[in-house]
Amino acid sequence: MSLLSEDGKKTVLSFGDWVNANSPEIPPEIDYAKGGDPKGPGAHGHDDHGHEDHGHEDHGHDDHGHEEAHGHDGHGHDDAHGHDAHGEHGHEHAHFEPHEIVMPKREKKPKVKREKVQLTGVEHSYRVFAVISGILLALVLLVTVATLPRFGSADAPAVNEVSRRYLEQGLTDTGAVNAVAGIILDYRAFDTLGESVVLFTATVTVIFLLQQSKRKNGEEKTEDEVDVNTGVRSLPAKVIIGITFPFILLYGIYVVLNGHLSPGGGFSGGTILGGGLILCHMVNGERFTERFITVKRCTQIMAAGLFVYIGLKTYSILTGANGAASAIPLGTPGSIFSAGLILPLNICVGLVVACTMYALYNLFTSWRS
């Protein structure tokens, strides 16, 4: 992606240009800002080429091989065009016959002018103030760290009666051998419900933000999009993923189901499951994974998981918290069917987390500007 390659620190799109960027009648001239260019006068020499038509302009700049012109090519266009520019840049260097290369796509979109932004006085003082305040904050925090009790000391104030209560009574209260699982899914289950809702809300918001643009111009297929649909063109990668994918899922399910017995649980196991799905999507492409999971199904699974969580926890709050007899046995500590509701709650959380991970990856990779 050309997003990160954009060096926003040095060059900036001018205000009028992104307004004009989508209008077809933009004059083909390129105006570079005069002066203030740290890369020397070479970049400005291109003003001579600036009055030719578009295709020649590109070649003229690439022929000279200035990074300035190269970066310029990538920015005014969408991602696919940016990739073209990157790919053919090196090619032109090798042959020095730039006019042979035909890039018809570039003529569609108008050029976007870029100019240097001088640091204004306000911005300069902002940066100085930011550095000073950051260093001051770090110094205050360092003094605090210096007065904290020694790392790993057993008599630190953090080790108080609250944590002792969780460790001493946790096994009889919740039946979970893993004290952390007992805390997050029994004592603080309402908090974990909130976390799962936060994940669900984030996924829904990302769907709302990114699928809107997908609908607008969904018909044009770029090279990236083909890659997303069919995966990588590497047979060894496909074979290795075909072999390991079931085991990744199996390990994720193991971690989810043993959340009350060993380190792990819904969050870590769900992340492993989601990672496996992401790997499968990366290698085999969306056309393969959409047979068994899509973003829509992810949201359905997440909603179902949340509703099951709410239902189970409502029952336990109404009975157990009121001191009434609960039909859910705590079981013998250490066996797989123990710890009351923690096992089903872990499964719900694991489903929510796995679907969040996969849905977010799918949405971000299938997004096109």
């Binding site: 997003l3 205000f15 940066r127 969780y166 952390v180 974990t192 017995l261």
Partner: protein, 123 residues
């Protein structure tokens, strides 16, 4: 003075300062989000370090021994879990907003666009 004995907390503070300065000084939106994530990570490191007790075991009850002095503090682990989930959610939301920003302005430079708007307003 335990500044150099508390090396986990020291690293957390340094990471926090790095993340904060990235957030304040970088003009690229993606780099700002990376700075925010580094700050998140430093807080998790700090919390996880506060829960540790030297020589104690992980908080998984072994052989029915419920003596609290045998195990580390389980509470910070649960809190870090909450923090990680919220950090993932906010990062996803911020990245989606950054993509929409890029779609609108064709640049990730947030300061430049805001500055241009301000300058245009003054003219």
């Amino acid at each position: 003075m335990n500044l150099f004995n508390n090396y986990y907390e020291l690293a957390a503070v340094i990471l926090f300062a790095i993340g904060l300065l990235l957030l304040l000084l970088q003009r690229n939106l993606i780099k700002k989000i990376i700075g925010l994530n580094i700050m998140d990570t430093s807080v998790f490191l700090f919390l996880a370090a506060k829960g540790y007790i030297a020589g104690a075991m992980s908080p998984i009850i072994r052989d029915g021994q419920t003596d609290a002095s045998l195990y580390i503090n389980p509470l910070p682990s649960g809190l870090v879990l909450t923090g990680i989930v919220v950090a993932v959610s906010t990062t996803a939301f911020a990245l989606a907003l950054a993509l929409r920003w890029y779609q609108q302005y064709h640049t990730l430079d947030i300061d430049g666009v805001v500055l241009k708007n301000v300058l245009k307003g003054e003219k």
